[in-house]
């Protein structure tokens, strides 16, 4: 099974990298950019019999390592 885990900063957490990217896009003349928040994505192949089983494993992966739950949230998408 293939899944994509997306880790993002929780709302309200300052994101200096996102701000820098936002500024760079403006300076490049890309119109209409209101704001940028930077996150991370992980494409993961895993052995699992069902989406439910995969979801459990991926939650474990996120909470143990992929996300710092103090300042980050995660979502999972399946192919």
């Amino acid at each position: 099974m293939k899944a994509r885990v997306i880790v993002t900063l929780k709302p309200g957490v300052l994101d200096p990298q996102g701000k820098a990217i936002e500024g760079a896009l403006r300076s490049l003349g890309v119109a209409g950019v209101a704001s940028v928040r930077q996150g991370k994505s992980f494409d993961i192949e895993l052995d699992a019999d069902s989406r439910e089983a995969a979801g459990r494993k991926l939650s474990e992966a996120c909470e143990k390592l992929l996300a710092n739950m103090i300042v980050e949230d995660y979502t999972v998408e399946y192919e």
Binding site: V13, P16, I70, V71
Partner: protein, 232 residues
Amino acid sequence: MNSPLRAAVILFPGSNREGDVARALRQASGEPPAIVWHDDRALPPGTDLVVLPGGFSYGDYLRCGAIAARAHIMDAVRAHAAAGKLVLGICNGFQILCEAGLLPGVLMRNAGRRFVCRMQHLRVENPSTPFARGYVQGQVIKVAIAHGEGNYTVDEAGLAELERSGRVAFRYCDADGALGDGANPNGSMNDIAGVYNETFNVLGLMPHPENLIDPLVGGVDGRGMFHGLSAA
């Protein structure tokens, strides 16, 4: 002093201040620390103090300190801390302690987006621990900082608890000890430069006291920490 402090410095791939902290420990206690590889399972018998040094463990992959916090040796470091023995994390070591759950909060990217590498004044907030007993309350010391992710962030309840229980060890300040925007190099909440765990046997701090132990390099204000630790 009954017996010299027995210290162990943990070496992760990408650590780079282990030599500096080993020198500071040797200068203060007369004994060189053991250097322990991250993939080892145990600390040397009789270890009093574990130090997680500065650097860029695992190239800061994923998040600063995230991979190192899951290294094999960290189970032994957790057990050492749970037994009430001393753990000191400096810079990347502070990030590792937060990622390992041994200290609350997280070190985020500096609010000003720049890596800051310069001298910095700190105000000693709580010297009633083995780490800081070489200083006095309110003392202003000058040490070095060198980090891109030192912006200490913790949830509101966690911050209130740190303040209430005297767990803020050091704050960023100016040369006169005044706090404020200009004196805070990275946006840390409440100007926090270092925090203790709830039993005051684990300290994490972003600045580098180990680099200020010799007049040749600009001051000796860092000595207090290592002399204090050695005076057990």
